[in-house]
């Protein structure tokens, strides 16, 4: 017998201060529902890398269907059918426009806000970022309107670039023109936010909890058992894979915490931050996956490292600081090192995209229902150029985008035109944003 009864989309597994949201299951689809009412939601994320990119290794020499990709993008080549690569998008408000030095501070602050930030270290002012405009509308349907994540330095005060506050270089999302949303860096803090009851544990309480080495899945085991009895085999497999991925995240965090304690028991680094860049990236991306999969949020910004960072990359045998290297003055050995850093970042991103592709959702994959922008606020980091910004979107935005292409627009085309087009696909309709001059065309299937 066919009935209209279905599992509510907002079902949680609960127990002992824990609330685990569920992925999109077949059981959540009413048997007689139309295709439109059951369509999975569109999600968007921004993955921002600093200090520009070696553009020779990024831009293919062709337009249209993606084929062989240049060196930096090589890790994405096997997923090129899911990628849209953009050319000539520009952030004019990242340029000096008479404000002199400070391209790193400006380009990060203007990246999602589309406005020129005030040059100051005290009374900061930018604009509401477009992810927050989207979050204000679509976020009502999810537990978190948006998530702001990062991997390095969340200082909010002081001068980080020629008179620009660290609030400009260390944040992507702005809730108001004076209120940035600092990223969460610590995987443990993010995990507790995603699956906890909203109360952050003190280090002492966390240590007590660790003594028992219990997984959050243990706390919700009763609910899990009850749920499983009503699920079909496909949903049971989906649920099992999903809960296994959460357990794997827990293991990674525990490992990082253990490693950190062994390295230096007195270190001030947050508990769960792995020393290894790739491990940290994987943890954060795994949690972004779960957050999207279980519809905890539909909007994420991820500041990989902050603009102007001098972080060395000993993981790939580059002890030099990232930012000094980008001022390579056309020296081949320095360009090579920056290229390796750029490639390393893309490699981590590609691993995340690979994972999103494997998760089935509706008639396609989770990635199909995402728009994951990977990009930077500078193109040439040596010359601090704000035009032809390295920008790609992974995913099809709910099967809207005709991906697998490189689209080159006219020079000076505002990046904000892309944002307007993305907002449309998130169901948020705005006539003008930042310095937009219209909506980016040629994106859709038709």
């Amino acid at each position: 017998m066919i009935t209209k009864k279905s599992l509510p989309r907002r079902t949680f597994l609960r127990g002992m201060g824990t609330a685990v949201a569920l992925p999109f299951l077949d059981a959540m689809v009413p048997a007689l529902a139309s295709a439109t009412t059951t369509k999975p939601p569109v999600r968007m994320a921004f993955v921002y890398v600093p200090n520009g990119i070696i553009m020779n290794g990024w831009n293919p020499e062709y337009e249209g269907t993606l084929g062989e990709l240049p060196r930096i993008l090589k890790p994405l080549e096997q997923y090129s059918q899911d990628i849209t690569l953009f050319g000539n998008l520009t952030h004019n408000t990242g340029r000096a426009l008479l404000d002199g030095a400070g391209d790193h501070g400006r380009c990060c602050a203007s990246y999602l806000t589309g406005v020129q930030p005030r040059k100051t270290v005290i009374d900061i002012k930018a604009g509401v970022s477009f992810d927050q405009i989207v979050a204000n509308q679509v976020g009502k349907a999810t537990r978190f309107p948006s998530l702001e994540l990062g991997m390095e330095d969340a200082r909010q005060a002081g001068d980080c670039d020629s008179g620009y506050s660290c609030a400009y270089t260390n944040n992507l999302a702005w809730k108001s023109e004076t209120q940035p949303l600092p990223p969460v860096l610590d995987p443990r803090a993010l995990f507790e936010r995603l699956f906890g009851n909203g109360l952050a544990l003190t280090p002492a309480a966390r240590a007590r909890e660790n003594l028992y080495r219990r997984s959050i899945l243990d706390f919700v085991s009763d609910d899990t058992r009850k749920l499983e009895t009503g699920l079909g085999p496909t949903d049971r497999r989906k649920l099992d894979e999903y809960l296994s991925s959460i357990r794997e995240i827990e293991r990674q965090i525990e490992k990082a915490e253990k490693d950190n304690t062994q390295i230096d028991p007195h270190m001030e680094k947050p508990y769960g931050v792995p020393a290894d860049f790739a491990e940290h990236f994987k943890l954060m991306s795994d949690m972004m996956t779960v957050a999207f999969q279980s519809d905890l949020t539909r909007v994420i910004t991820f500041l990989v490292t902050h603009e102007g960072t001098s972080r060395p990359y000993r993981e790939i045998d580059i002890p030099d600081g990232h930012h000094p290297l980008t001022h390579h003055r056309n020296q081949p050995d320095l360009i090579e090192k920056v290229t390796q850093i750029n490639s390393y970042h893309v490699r981590q991103f590609a691993a995340w995209i690979a994972k999103l592709r494997t998760i089935r959702e509706g008639d396609g994959s989770l990635l199909d229902n995402c728009m994951i922008v990977y990009g930077a606020g500078l193109s040439d980091g040596n010359r601090h150029l704000h035009e032809d910004l390295p920008t790609l979107i992974a995913g099809r935005g709910g099967s809207h985008f005709k991906s697998g292409r490189r689209i080159v627009y006219r020079k000076e085309t505002p990046m904000c035109n892309l944002y307007l087009a993305m907002m449309d696909r998130m169901g948020v309709h705005v006539e003008h944003f930042g310095d937009s001059t219209g909506r980016l065309d040629a994106l859709d299937l038709t």
């Binding site: 008479l98 030095a101 391209d103 001098s310 056309n330 080159v408 310095d435 001059t437």
Partner: protein, 308 residues
């Protein structure tokens, strides 16, 4: 690379032209001459006909005048894109059809939408330190006026719009809109101005001979059978935009919209200035912002130290 804030520079010129007459080419050459002598700066160059070859020529001319610059100044020199009207491709001008000068414009995506380019470049000008020179249809400027918030930017940044009255009729509606809505004073170089102040054709063989394949001389020869003198509507507008207070011209009437009047006593001086500026040799340019590499390196070293 971080740079200190530069001192207030000379007037920034936006040149929007049809590039359909040799007068437009000479006016652009003059602008490069003024730029080389630090009497003006090129803010934006736009072509208001959908003529890709004209855009290629404008880009090539910029590179020709930049060719004397080398070292750090060359490394950090930014070639702003050429603005080019889109739409149905216009008939290519004979001036550029045989031109093969080095340029970076392969297709329309190597150019910018003129209104967007002008908006962006005006935002980078000091207040009341920009002028716009229009020669040809006012289509681009009419689109500019329709952009969100741009009228305020124009009022703040631009001190003057100089119009060469030799092609406005190609888009009468746009001209009407611009004359009605443009927020700064407008000065027009009427038809009689261009004819009263002809650019002497014999200058091409003398003053441009320093370069065997001078792009301007090539365009001049291609435009019409030599020898001929060229009317100078756009050159007059350009000269007034750069030097409005130097007595080259008189102005008619008062108010928002005035016209240039030829002062017979200034005629020789004006034509000498035309020749001097249009035929000016490329000069090495200093970096707009002094390069202080050592300071930058020290700052990075401090950051690395702080991060340890």
């Amino acid at each position: 690379m971080q740079f200190p804030i530069p001192a207030k520079p000379p007037v920034g010129i936006v040149f929007d032209s049809a590039m359909g007459r040799i007068d437009d080419v000479l006016a652009l050459a003059m602008l490069h001459g003024f730029d080389g002598k630090d009497q003006a700066r090129i803010a934006a160059v736009c072509v208001s006909r959908a003529d890709l070859q004209a855009a290629q020529f404008c880009d090539a001319l910029g590179r020709f005048y930049a060719s004397a610059t080398s070292g750090p100044a060359a490394m950090f020199m930014r070639f702003a894109p050429i603005g080019l009207a889109d739409g149905k491709p216009a008939a290519a001008s004979v001036m550029f059809s045989k031109a093969a000068y080095a340029n970076a414009v392969k297709n329309i995506n190597d150019t910018a939408d003129p209104a967007t380019l002008i908006r962006n470049e005006l935002m980078a000008q000091y207040d009341q330190n920009a002028a716009v020179v229009l020669s040809g249809p006012a289509t681009d400027l009419a689109k500019l006026l329709d952009m969100q918030g741009v009228k305020e930017w124009i009022a703040r940044k631009v001190r003057l719009l100089c119009v060469a009255d030799n092609g406005l009729q190609a888009d009468a509606a746009a001209a009407e809109k611009v004359f009605a809505e443009w927020p700064t004073p407008i000065v027009t170089a009427g038809r009689e101005i261009g004819e009263a102040l002809p650019f002497p054709g014999d200058s091409i063989e003398k003053d441009f001979a320093y370069e065997n394949a001078h792009p301007v001389a090539g365009a001049y020869r291609a435009f019409k059978p030599m020898p001929y003198d060229a009317p100078s509507w756009a050159m007059a507008a350009m000269l007034y935009a750069v030097h409005p207070n130097d007595g080259y011209f008189k102005l008619s009437g008062t108010g928002h919209h005035r016209e240039l009047i030829v002062d017979p006593e200034q005629k020789d001086r004006i034509i000498r200035t035309y020749i001097e500026m249009a035929s000016a040799k490329p000069v090495p340019r200093k970096p707009r912002h002094p390069v202080d590499e050592k300071k930058d390196e020290k700052k990075d070293e401090k950051k690395v130290e702080a991060g340890k």
